[in-house]
């Protein structure tokens, strides 16, 4: 039986049927986003708290829009300029915010496991909007949503995830979600940026783009400047030479994805970003509908799920 738990902390919380149910729900909400009045009353009178301990543009704004389009009251708390800035602990902050009786807390934290801890401290449903380098489950769901729309199904699809896998929560959630949906995943990047024993997650690992032609989908990760300082790669120039995805390196028909924000000219060439093969814009658009679906499934669900919640 399909069952979605009280929280969304990890892709591990979802089986394939749950993922499909969320995506089906997202399809119907996507239709709402096409209307002139982009709002449904599902969460009227309920409160959603967005608690962001890291800078974020698209995740925080799409969660805010998603909650508002479901008619929830939204409170956004950022670490900067808040009591967090004054040294309040995560636990105290969460318990304070819980006094407002929110239906859900959406949390982004620089530390793995933060969302799981929050779930233990509040009666609200908790949604992990990124915890350290651990997971970013709603990003993976919108990536699957985008691919499913384009391909119909991920079964048997070959997906390459290229770049800094070591520091990427998106990569971890995507590997889990893509394989759960039937895809074959290969991670590719400089050996310094591929975690030892990553194969235990059910993917292959390789250091070169030689076999990139096997991919149906090329999912490119963000390459951060600060990785140079720690000698993970000798220079951005050498990284770009070996791993930058350009139109020359792509076959016709291969799809291109990126979680954003893009470092134009580093992991992706400008031409690749703007090519018709790129689904980057579709990913961003999917964000709102998928996050509406996640909020809806956790807080309202279907009648059969009310008993579970």
């Amino acid at each position: 039986m399909t069952r979605i738990g009280r929280h969304l902390l990890s892709i591990d919380d979802l089986d394939r049927a749950s993922i499909e149910r969320i995506l089906d729900r997202a399809e119907s909400f996507d239709e709402v986003s096409g209307r002139e009045i982009k709002k449904v009353p599902a969460l009227r009178g309920r409160t959603v708290v967005n608690l962001f301990y890291e800078a974020s543009t698209r995740t925080s704004s799409s969660f805010e829009l998603a909650a508002k389009r479901l008619s929830a009251d939204v409170v956004s708390v950022r670490s900067q300029g808040s009591s967090v800035d004054k040294g309040e602990s995560l636990k105290d902050t969460v318990q304070t915010l819980s006094a407002y009786d929110p239906a859900a807390i959406v949390i982004r934290s620089p530390h793995a496991g933060a969302a799981g801890l929050v779930a233990g401290w509040t009666p609200a449903a908790v949604i992990n909007a990124g915890d350290g380098k651990h997971e970013h489950p709603t990003q993976a769901l919108l990536d699957v949503f985008t691919l499913r729309r384009r391909l119909g199904s991920l079964d048997g699809t070959n997906i390459w995830i290229v770049g800094d896998v070591l520091h990427s929560r998106v990569a971890r959630s995507d590997i889990l979600a893509f394989t759960r949906m039937g895809a074959n995943v290969t991670v590719c990047g400089p050996p310094t940026l591929i975690p030892r024993e990553i194969e235990a997650l059910g993917c292959e690992a390789t250091a070169t783009l030689e076999r990139l032609g096997e991919a149906d989908v090329v999912y490119v990760l963000r390459m951060q400047q600060e990785r140079m300082r720690d000698s993970f790669v000798p220079s951005l120039r050498e990284y770009a030479t070996r791993y930058q995805i350009t139109p020359d390196r792509l076959l016709p028909g291969q799809l291109l994805m990126h979680p954003g924000p893009v470092n134009r000219g580093v992991e992706l060439s400008g031409e690749a970003i703007d090519s018709p093969q790129a689904l980057i814009g579709a990913q961003v658009r999917a964000g709102v509908a998928v996050r509406m679906a996640v909020l809806y499934e956790l807080l309202v669900g279907t009648p059969s799920l009310a008993a579970v919640a």
């Binding site: 636990k91 530390h111 793995a112 801890l117 350290g132 380098k133 235990a200």
Partner: protein
């Protein structure tokens, strides 16, 4: 009291006890069967067959048929957090926790605030221990001033002030040159040099073992070789300088190989291993529960098995808890933010008994020996159940099962990696340096209520 052995404790009333009928297991004394044990004036006066000994005047009787009596355990590695971090633990609470775990002596680490790096600080600690320590405490001083790794402490003066030895525990001595000077200077002042082995250039900001689980969680890994390369380096230094070196809390198979190699080559090195490394693996970290965060980290199952084998073979010499208390608010944070360490004194025996002895991985005799062998490594006499010896022993109910933490902890802190686990083998009573240092509640009530000296007033141990 400070014995010739550089152990410090408060002067409690010497025990007069008749422990009747317990199964006495002391492999070194060749004892493995039911005996009466009479303790008079804090010393073991007599052993006899069950029912053969009579209590004298003012002697309490403890009826202990079906229970086990072991030599008291010795823990060569605890953090008592005094001075400076008494909100985590202090000498009174830490030694009470030790007694509750069956330990009759512990050795405290110097990474306090301030660091135990001069004789005045050590002097104030030994004074405190004389007033508060429920079991004898030995103190290590730091190798380098402020644990900074640059300048040696006044090791000779620290030895005169009672230091058992030296360590920068919590940190490695990164500079091979500085460590070499310390090993040379040891020829003047004596004292074991104990080493926390970690190459910080390899461990970096790691928070757990590097392997499949760290890959899954996205938490920076601490590779095994950050430990083993330093074990190999320092074993070579110890051999070259003919120094006495002890390796603390080894965690991985590569370190065992380096240690074994050094021992075969004749280096005067020894090593300890912690109960959590013998019983748990990095798989526990999947929960992201900060109770499983310690340094060295929980490693792979292959490492755990190799540690058990090395302990059995005596390649690793003894068990040490690395009891490391932290306050609740410090540990109730995301895993990567939490401080390293688990408490372990109250669960050491039960965790090894339940997870290894009952599972058939380790003999009970080996557990008893390795939980007492730490004493000899620091030049202390090893507790033994034999007439004439000071009473250092613990009475254990091997049948009793308990949920760790369900009744709270004797330690001031609750950061126990075995929290919530059902363990078997409960310590009922500990006699340390001749005095009753711990008695489980049932027993304690009986001991205080009993009128002196009637053979009819048997105390029932439950």
């Amino acid at each position: 009291m400070m014995s010739a052995e550089r152990l410090f404790h408060r002067a409690d009333r010497p025990a007069d006890l008749l422990i009747q009928g317990a199964h006495v297991l002391d492999p070194r004394a060749g004892l493995d069967g039911p005996h009466d044990v009479l303790i008079r004036g804090g010393h073991i006066a007599e052993l006899g067959s069950p029912g053969s000994l009579q209590p004298g005047a003012d002697t309490e009787t403890v009826e202990a048929v079906g229970k086990h009596l072991f030599p008291g355990f010795v823990d060569p590695h605890v953090h008592l957090r005094t001075p400076g971090q008494e909100y985590k633990e202090d000498i009174a609470t830490g030694t009470a926790a030790a007694a509750a775990g069956g330990f009759c002596a512990v050795i405290a680490m110097p990474n306090t605030d301030p660091v135990v790096d001069d004789a005045a600080i050590l002097g104030s600690l030994t004074d405190t221990a004389r007033r508060q320590a429920r079991v004898p405490v030995g103190f290590l001083a730091s190798i380098t001033r402020g644990l900074k790794g640059h300048q040696l402490t006044e090791m000779a003066e620290l030895r005169d002030a009672g230091a058992l030895g030296f360590t920068d525990d919590g940190k490695p001595v990164v500079s091979a040159g500085v460590l070499r000077r310390a090993l040379q200077y040891q020829r003047l002042c004596g004292g074991v040099i104990a080493l926390h082995e970690e190459d910080p250039d390899l461990s970096r900001d790691g928070a757990m073992h590097e392997g499949a689980v760290s890959a899954r969680l996205g938490i920076a890994g601490i590779p095994s070789l950050s430990e083993s390369t330093m074990v190999a380096r320092d074993a070579a230094l110890a051999a070259y300088e003919s120094a006495r070196v002890h390796f603390q809390h080894l965690s991985c198979v590569e370190s065992i190989e380096a240690l074994s190699h050094a021992k075969q080559a004749g280096a005067n090195v020894s090593a300890e291993v912690c109960p959590h490394h013998l019983t748990l693996t990095d798989d526990m970290v999947r929960t992201l529960d900060s109770r499983f965060k310690m340094n060295p980290p929980l490693r792979a199952e292959s490492d755990r098995r190799a540690l058990v084998d090395a302990l059995t073979a005596g390649v690793i010499d003894c068990v040490a808890t690395d009891h490391a208390p932290h306050a609740g608010h410090e540990k109730e944070v995301p895993f990567e933010e939490a401080p390293m360490g688990t408490i372990g004194l109250e669960t050491a025996f039960a965790s090894l008994y339940t997870e290894l002895v009952l599972a058939g991985e380790l003999e009970l005799e080996t557990v008893i020996e390795r939980m007492t062998d730490g004493a000899a490594l620091y030049g202390l006499s090893v507790p033994r159940i034999a007439p004439g010896r000071p009473a250092n022993l613990c009475l254990v109910d091997l049948e009793a099962r308990f949920e760790v933490g369900a009744g709270g902890y004797v330690s001031r802190s609750a950061n126990c990696c075995f929290h919530g686990r059902m363990l078997q083998g409960k310590v009922l009573m500990t006699v340390a340096a001749g005095a009753v240092a711990h008695a489980a509640r049932m027993l304690a009530e009986a001991l205080t209520k009993a009128p002196p000296s009637s053979a009819a007033d048997h105390l029932r141990v439950r």
